[in-house]
């Protein structure tokens, strides 16, 4: 029996079948209170078409898919996931950074060009709005969380808190809250950007200094709690935040510098370009940061905190810094969202929001800026597509089932993400081979 289970082919087939069984249940019929198991049994016994060829029960096409999946896994996907070949691959002498630079710049220029012309190609108002609210802003949030999770190796489950603070600061300085605005002046949301970033960074430092001494799971719990606390505050401090009704009076951005006068309005495209400018700025700043001494210090702490301390790196200082930098992007995203949608509600700042951003980072590749951007684009476009043209029986809350399943599959096949960061991939492969310390974000182990 034991040899049977240890047979890797059998195990792979079992796993492929299990994955497809989950997909079958996810896409299958829903149960009801009278027939609670119907959702499960119906997923396999209901009649459906076999890819349009003939009529059969549902488990037949899914078993077929499981076999195909298994075949792909054993032949193509498995290459490079074996630890042995993985180690020799990551051990190869890395090419100098200067060699890769032209290629990266090339890809970046093409992507930027596509991003610039995209609003002129896509005219569907749903997609134009989604490009700002659900894609550009989420890209920004993902590259911010990547600094915390990917660079510094800190698992932050309360990222939404900083986003909420950014949004509420915007409402405050523009005079849209019951609380009187700063100096009694109703300012333009542009002024909210520096104020929000400063306040959010301060919040990051205040939360970070006592809690970043904790490791792995403990830090995740504390940040999770912080996210909840901010939402509860927003919900209950009627005199300050407006309570559960939030605020609906936040003005749009507008520019008045000498002869230049421009006001952002209800159309999403100008907001898209505004967000794009900041995405590009943050991308440039963070990729320089990654390859600076700060980025190397983060890597050192992630890999071996004791050794990092022994060469004079203060881990707490660097962790707090990562926390504050990540928080500032979330704060900025909060300003953009608040001003673009004109309103904020405490109910939109939920734990699932934080989880959503975390999924973008893990899916894309923790620590890899390019991967995280790509991951955010793919997942957010996909979830917007599901919302826009939902398959039969799809409800918007089903999204998290899909995201969860996607994460499970990613962890099995590409634990380092879609486009892994070189350092991260080396860490994962080496720790599997018993070399060095696996990262606490992935394993929960103390280094």
């Amino acid at each position: 029996m034991k040899t049977f289970l240890n047979n890797s082919m059998v195990r792979r087939f079992m796993m492929a079948a299990a994955v497809l069984a989950v997909v079958a249940v996810m896409t299958g019929p829903a149960g009801s209170t009278e027939t609670p198991t119907a959702g499960f049994t119906g997923s396999f016994s209901e009649r459906s078409s076999f890819f349009g060829f003939f009529e059969t029960v549902r488990w037949v096409p899914f078993l077929f898919l499981a076999v195909v999946f298994f075949g792909l896994w054993t032949t193509w996907l498995a290459r490079g996931t074996q630890i042995k070949s993985g180690v020799s691959k990551v051990m190869a002498v890395p090419r100098a950074a200067t060699e890769r630079r032209p290629v990266r710049w090339g890809i970046g220029a093409v992507l930027l060009f596509v991003a610039l012309i995209l609003p002129h190609v896509i005219s569907d108002p749903f997609w134009q709005a989604a490009m700002v609210e659900q894609i550009a802003v989420y890209v920004l949030l993902a590259i911010g969380l990547n600094v915390v999770v990917g660079f510094a190796g800190l698992l932050d489950l309360g990222f939404v808190a900083f986003y909420a603070i950014g949004a509420y600061v915007t409402a405050w300085v523009t005079g849209a809250l019951p609380m009187p605005p700063l100096f009694g002046i109703h300012m333009d949301p542009f002024f909210a950007i520096p104020i929000a970033i400063l306040i959010v960074m301060a919040a990051g430092i205040v939360l970070g200094v006592p809690t970043l001494r904790l490791r792995g799971d403990y830090l995740a719990i504390v940040t999770l709690g912080f996210g909840e606390i901010i939402t509860i505050f927003a919900n209950n401090l009627y005199g300050i935040t407006g309570g559960s009704q939030g605020s609906s009076l936040i003005p749009h951005f507008s520019l008045h510098i000498g002869p230049i006068k421009y006001a952002w309005g209800l159309t999403p495209v100008p907001y898209y370009y505004l967000t794009l400018i900041f995405v590009v700025l943050f991308l440039a700043a963070f990729s320089l940061l990654e390859h600076s001494r700060v980025g190397r210090a983060w890597t050192a702490i992630r890999e071996d905190e004791v050794a990092a301390e022994s060469v004079g790196i203060n881990p707490l200082k660097y962790k707090v810094m990562a926390f504050a930098i990540g928080a500032s992007t979330a704060g900025f995203a909060g300003v953009v969202t608040a001003s673009q949608s004109n309103n904020i509600f405490p109910s939109s700042f939920t734990l699932s929001f934080s989880i959503n951003i975390l999924v973008l980072v893990i899916f894309g590749g923790m620590g890899s800026i390019f991967g995280v951007v790509l991951g955010a684009l793919i997942i957010q476009t996909g979830s917007m597509y599901l919302l826009h043209t939902p398959p039969a029986g799809y409800q918007s809350s089903d999204l998290y089932i899909y995201l969860g399943a996607l994460l499970v599959v990613m962890m099995i096949f590409r634990p380092a993400g879609l486009v892994p960061s070189r350092r991260r991939r080396r860490e994962i492969v080496l720790s599997k081979a018993g070399e060095g310390h696996p990262d606490e974000v992935l394993t929960g182990d103390e280094p």
């Binding site: 990551v90 051990m91 002498v93 890395p94 100098a96 700043a285 963070f286 320089l288 940061l289 600076s292 001494r293 700060v294 980025g295 190397r296 210090a297 890597t299 050192a300 890999e303 071996d304 004791v306 050794a307 990092a308 301390e309 022994s310 060469v311 004079g312 790196i313 203060n314 881990p315 200082k317 660097y318 810094m321 930098i325 350092r423 991260r424 080396r426 860490e427 080496l430 070399e435 060095g436 310390h437």
Partner: protein, 267 residues
């Protein structure tokens, strides 16, 4: 009176009821190659960890006379502060940043004492560029010093044991230390690597003027390298002196062989 660099006075370190260091007093002179030997579990690594701020002894004082011979108390300081004061170390099982190249490992040591400068790093201003250049130059120099120039771009996890020891020494030296603490540098190395390592350690002291404090099990290496030794057993100093004196010391022989010299002779 000779110029001291480390002065350890009646240090006691306990973990719950276990006494790891018991009233240990010792000192190191500036520019000296000093060794601490003793059987397994004698408290050698605990002593190192206390000297570098990793452990905090409950009693006693540890004074480090670093740059300008200014006395600094080690107890109560965090490890990174001790490193900034001028104490570098290596680890018993070498602790590299295994996913980084040899070059990056040393560079991290070279740049860790400069201010953080996040804004400078994000904008890549002239000061940041200058700092990068300086650390690159220092890294190249140190890799050459320990003889790892041709391995600079190799991922540190794929280096041999001997090369890892050298890399750890280079990383420690990159922090501009006054004293370098080596925890069993010869463990896991082959005989020819041992010879090279001995030469390297001596070169660090002679050419860089860095004092060396050494823990080692390889007696041949210790006796040829150290100018003075302390012997620890069950957390206490049982002997000190020159290599020749230690070789002839009855208490040391007893600690290592488990019976007193007289008993051995009598039997």
């Amino acid at each position: 009176m000779t110029d001291k660099i480390f002065d350890v006075d009646s240090v006691t370190l306990r973990f719950g009821g276990v006494v790891s260091l018991n009233d240990v007093s010792l000192h190191q002179n500036r520019g000296e190659i000093l060794a601490v030997i003793g059987p397994n579990g004698a408290g050698k690594t605990s002593l190192f960890n206390s000297l570098t701020g990793v452990y905090q002894p409950q009693e006693g004082t540890i004074t480090f006379l670093g740059r300008d011979a200014k006395p600094i108390s080690i107890i109560g300081k965090k490890a990174h502060r001790v490193s900034s004061a001028g104490v570098a170390r290596t680890f018993q099982a070498s602790r590299m940043f295994s996913a980084l190249t040899a070059f990056e490992n040393v560079k991290i040591g070279a740049e860790s004492h400069r201010g953080i400068g996040v804004l400078g790093a994000m904008l890549k201003g002239p000061a940041t560029r200058k700092g990068e250049k300086a650390s690159d130059a220092k890294t190249v120099e140190l890799l050459d010093f320990v003889g790892l120039t041709d391995r600079a771009n190799v991922i540190s996890a794929s280096l041999s044991y001997g090369d890892r020891r050298r890399l750890e020494i280079a990383r420690g030296l990159a922090t501009d230390p006054q004293v370098l603490l080596l925890d069993e540098p010869a463990a896991g190395t082959n005989p020819s690597e041992k010879v090279q390592l001995t030469e390297l350690i001596r070169k660090v002291r002679d050419e860089m003027g860095v004092s060396i404090l050494l823990i080692e099990h390889d007696m041949k290496l210790v006796m040829s390298l150290a100018e003075r030794l302390y012997v620890l057993n069950f957390g206490s100093v049982i002997a000190q002196g020159t290599p020749a004196e230690i070789r002839a010391n009855d208490a040391v022989i007893e600690a290592y062989l488990g019976a007193s010299a007289d008993e051995t002779k009598g039997a």
